[in-house]
């Protein structure tokens, strides 16, 4: 018998099992941490920029599960580094992995993993913005996960993309230190709408610091 708004645990488990990295018990701890820090209501199946450190797979797993349950559909996903994506985009057509690029643009959730090591192409951020724009039009979530290894350089590197998120009132969530104000819950999140921008003057509702 069909239950509306319910999914099979087995199918959910199978779908995101590839994201389970390293020791299972350690990963479970990371997942619990991700769940305690991250309020997914703030993202509302829309683009988001998340600063994190060391728990990126757990964040992908958590958001994949959450969005699937929210949309009542087991969502396909792609996890790709910013560098790999930009390299593919600028490769000549005959050697480009078209299937991969097609999936990045059209899959249910695209996770772009960024770190300071991805900034070797001047078009990185503008290419990512194009991707976000295209996917937003198709009402699909794009999560930019910036892995902070050096908090001093992180925000200077991501300034362009952060400005884009602020200008478009999209969600920025910082799970690491005080570099940015912590997560801000949007006033009226709706699945089809873009959500919130970080407002440095606004007192965050949920301050989350790792």
């Amino acid at each position: 018998m069909e239950t509306i708004n319910a999914l099979s645990i087995t199918q959910l488990s199978n779908k995101y099992t590839a994201l389970v990295s390293g020791d299972k018990f350690k990963f479970l701890e990371e997942l619990k941490l991700a769940k305690s820090l991250l309020d997914p209501h703030a993202i509302a199946y829309a683009p988001a920029l998340i600063y994190s450190s060391g728990i990126r797979n757990a964040i992908c797993y958590y958001l994949g599960t959450y969005f699937s349950l929210k949309m009542n559909e087991i969502l396909d996903y792609v996890v790709i580094t910013g560098r790999q994506f930009v390299d593919q985009i600028f490769l000549p057509s005959d050697i480009r992995d078209h299937q991969l690029v097609d999936r990045v643009f059209n899959t249910g959730i695209t996770f772009i993993i960024l770190s300071q090591f991805d900034y070797n192409n001047q078009f990185l951020e503008s290419t990512l913005i194009d991707l976000i724009e295209s996917r937003t039009l198709d009402k699909k979530a794009t999560i930019i996960l910036y892995e902070i290894t050096d908090s001093k350089t992180a925000h200077s590197l991501t300034k362009k993309i952060e400005d884009y998120f602020i200008a478009n009132k999209l969600t920025i969530i910082n799970l690491v230190g005080n570099a940015l104000n912590a997560a801000v819950k949007p006033p009226n999140p709706k699945p089809s709408m873009q959500t919130t921008a970080t407002d440095n003057t606004q007192k965050p509702k949920n301050k989350r610091i790792l």
Partner: protein, 468 residues
Amino acid sequence: MTNTVCTILLSIVEVKDPQYISAKISLLERELTLTEVEKKIVKDIKESISVGSPVTTEFIKDKYSFYVESDSNVLGTLLGRDSIDSAITDIKVSQLRTMLAKELVELGSDVKRDLDINELRSRIGKLTSHKLVTRNTQIPENELKVKTNAYAEVTAEGEGLDYPIQRIEHFAGKAIPGTVIGILAFAGGFKSTFALNLAYTNAARGKNMLYLILEDTGLNIVDRVVINHIACTALDRSELIDATWVRDNKLLPDQIQHYNKKHNELATKYGKHLLMWDSAKLEYHTFPDMTNLLRDADNLFKKETGRGIDGVIIDQLSLLKYTDITKKYSYTGEILNEWVSYFRKQALKFLDEDRQIVVFLISQINRESYMEASKPKKKGRYDITCAAEANELERALATMITLYKDLDTRDTVLINIPKSRRGMVPENPIQVEAYGNYFHFGPLNLKGEQVTLNDFMNNEVKFEDLIK
């Protein structure tokens, strides 16, 4: 009094409207076999119209007196403008009958003279290719009329057959009598699994389902229905029986006992409502064969349940292209189109009685559509032109349901409804669980198998439940 070509010719001319005369003369030439004299009269009429002075009936009677006077019927009153078309049809039917009688007599005498079998086939094919027209003498009743409860009549139609997935009904409504429903998928796309779930779901609700298995044995399909029945009734994962265990004869003694128990439970509970015939038991080489087969099934259901067939499932349509219909077809799709047309007629007027049934045609999707629907942007989004071979499906189907096996997510099928006469087309394909190893469509009714967003956010379902 019988009308003749002569009467019709004179009646047309008597109308005295050049445009009308011209149209009807063309119709006459197209539809009827004319004698040499009649052809000459037609030529005169056409020439007179072209010079702007149509001939009169007197002119024809005078110039062709030998022809007109030989026809005693013409001495009566000529036909009115409204009766001319039906008189042409009557004569056409009469001419066809005469021609058929002649051809049959000739064929009969040729058969006696040891006619070659291929020649015989060709001659029979030629005979059956004649379109035998009839004229409906009764004027059909207008469907739009005052009723005491029009709403009740419309909603009664909604009491049709169920789909195994309720979300399909949300978009397409139930499968109502008088309609043909298409279930299409690419090879290995769960067509037969969906078909047997369709048969099972409706038989379980007391509907009489005839399941015609054209590409497998009845024994195999019964095994699949039993495995599906076990999956439908299981409350715990340990009760499930995997099809591969049965295939490899690996069931443990208690599982064998469970399997046999469920088999008999299925046969006892639903056997009266679910008739499964495989191709070894069927004669379906021609349309009359199929009609006889449907009649036999209908009688069997009447005897067992007091009611006739509610639904017929043809699994699958493309195998009917091998049927022995002697009419010459330029490609196999034409035969399938004829079969689609045949089943549409059966759905609307079952066995030529005033009864309607639902016909489910299981059919194949073409390779191009599959490639297109495999692209991430269009995943599972088949369109109405996806049917392989029989393009008649696009027109005849009331609802077209397509199945796409999702290769990215295990045990998942994407269902699209590119055509829905009584409903709406979903914006995105519907994601549905489909378990090939249990021959089951839809969620399993196992304890603790389902999870909602609330369960997850409130920690009723924990990460430990997902990562085992």
